[in-house]
Symmetry: C2
Subunit: 329 residues, 2 copies
């Protein structure tokens, strides 16, 4: 029979023994093969094949001090805006040879702190979070570990971590001013929960003192928007425009209005914030504020890669937003 097949996994020493060379030579074959004679290299390669040797990632990173893993904490994967961001982030990190660990927080700061700890435990080299409201536990973890940390989706140059994101208040204000400019006097605002949700809060705060607003808080889901539409028609019949602080809500509102046979934009104008693909394709297409989530992902990846590779902490970066007028207004 063959060698003891009970044995778990071959290591460098096993390969060295099998090939009749030292561990150093095997290590060289793996990392700097040009320093090894072709003949010994082949012997070693053969031993590697024969023993199904795969170098241990842990042992490698204990020496290099690198894990090549970046952790990202996002509220949810159910909103396309985060998927888009993460997709771009993963792709760009990949170009730097970095892998992305995703953790969802359900917008709960305690879960975030807990998952951040887990990311530290698995050896993440840097963390990426959404927004600027985090629990004290989270902050203390970051300060203890001195972990490179970037906050996204929110631009605030005075924040304790570098931010790469939008001016959320300005984005929603831009949308509101556009609607006001179109002559709307009674505007409803659909928004998601604001506790622990700084971006939503900032977007709402951008609307203060501007025109007559009726605001409706609901879950950021299509059904949530449907319920908000129902609430709107029960309480505020003379509203002529709806500003949704998320395109998910805008699409849900579109469906809700269509179901009530309300003509868009004639009887009701509709506007979102995010610019998801659905807003461009919908009929009627939905006006929105374009948030370049993919660009934010790519820039965040670059910032983080630079930080972990060259210890250069990134500068805060403001991502531009732009208004896209479509058929719904």
């Amino acid at each position: 029979m063959a060698e003891k097949s009970i044995k778990k996994r071959a290591n460098l020493r096993d390969v060295a023994k099998a090939a009749g060379v030292s561990v150093a030579t095997v290590s060289r074959v793996l990392n700097t093969p040009e320093l090894v004679t072709v003949s010994t290299r082949e012997t070693v390669q053969a031993a590697i094949e024969a023993l199904h040797f795969v170098p241990s990632a842990a042992a490698r990173s204990i020496n290099s001090g690198r894990s090549h893993v970046i952790g990202a904490l996002v509220p949810t994967l159910d909103n396309a805006i985060f998927s888009k961001f993460l997709g771009a982030l993963e792709t760009k990190l990949g170009e730097y040879g970095l892998s992305l660990v995703v953790a969802t927080t359900d917008s709960d700061p305690d879960i975030e702190a807990q998952k951040a700890q887990r990311l530290v435990n698995i050896g993440a080299e840097a963390l990426i979070v959404s927004g600027i409201s985090h629990s004290p536990d989270f902050d203390s973890l970051i300060s203890r570990t001195r972990m490179p940390t970037v906050a996204t989706s929110f631009y605030d140059p005075s924040y304790r971590y570098p931010t790469i994101g939008y001016d959320n208040a300005a984005a929603s204000r831009k949308a509101l001013e556009f609607l006001i400019g179109k002559g709307h006097q009674h505007i409803a605002v659909f928004h998601g929960p604001t506790d622990h949700h700084d971006r939503m809060r900032a977007r709402l705060s951008g609307l203060h003192g501007q025109g007559v607003l009726h605001s409706f808080e609901t879950d950021i889901t299509l059904e949530g928007a449907g319920m908000a539409i129902n609430a709107l028609f029960e309480t505020s019949p003379h509203v002529t425009a709806i500003l949704c602080l998320s395109d998910v809500l805008a699409l849900g509102a579109l469906f809700g209005l269509q179901r009530r046979n309300v003509q868009i934009p004639h009887q009701m104008a509709l506007m979102g914030v995010d610019d998801l693909p659905s807003s461009a394709s919908a009929f009627p297409s939905i006006s929105t504020i374009h948030l370049p989530a993919a660009e934010m992902g790519a820039r965040t990846a670059e910032a983080v890669a630079n930080w972990v590779e060259h210890q250069s902490e990134p500068e805060p970066f403001l991502i531009d937003t732009s208004l896209i007028a479509r058929e719904s207004t």
Copy 2:
């Protein structure tokens, strides 16, 4: 001045020295504190705080042989069906103390093999892939590393890795038979690219020899569906029902039909496969085949967790699909 602040990061030996105990004692304080006297425990804790000591993940996993990281390879994050799956997967893995590394493949087997190698390099304990078409490089990597691997979205008990997924052919057939049962004679099929895309291929193959079909291949995006609608009206005017092999296409088709002022379902019936939230909320709501992506995520997480914790390879598992009749048919 304080201690040399140049020093990178405190390790166990530093803490032991500072606390005046042995490294073994510090290790015990971290892992089995009940074995350590309260007084020494406190001394050690104080030293840990003072030195900002954070145990090295790499050193830990070199001993335990565990990284607590699972790798998932998905085609894209841009399709909600994968986000939903990954969200459930991440949540359930979290319950087992496992973290999820996400890698996107863009449906390219070569990129998949390359990213799989990277996941191995960072020490992933298991891999999760979509579908059953993978490159030889990928298969050779799996066989060399003997890495636990689960294939999802596709049920095939004879496949070389355990599969946890749907019977895609049966799902689409179910939809088609439903449409035929409604009296439709000329049915168009919208589907995504079939090369490297076994699920789409399987769904298409499920339709063979059933009624008069006109098939349109396009990108699985809302715009792709819009283009397919245009192609449909140019080439096949007497079609009375569209079967979209993805709900993304169905929603895009809905918008495209609305734009052409085609009444749904009177002038054109519409049906999808996936059951994304948009299909339930759309107006009219879209009939579809419900694919429980979240359930698949949770089951996959359980299977993988069991595999890595107890070395028990999971049995293939068929996830049931069900037809949901809505307003669009």
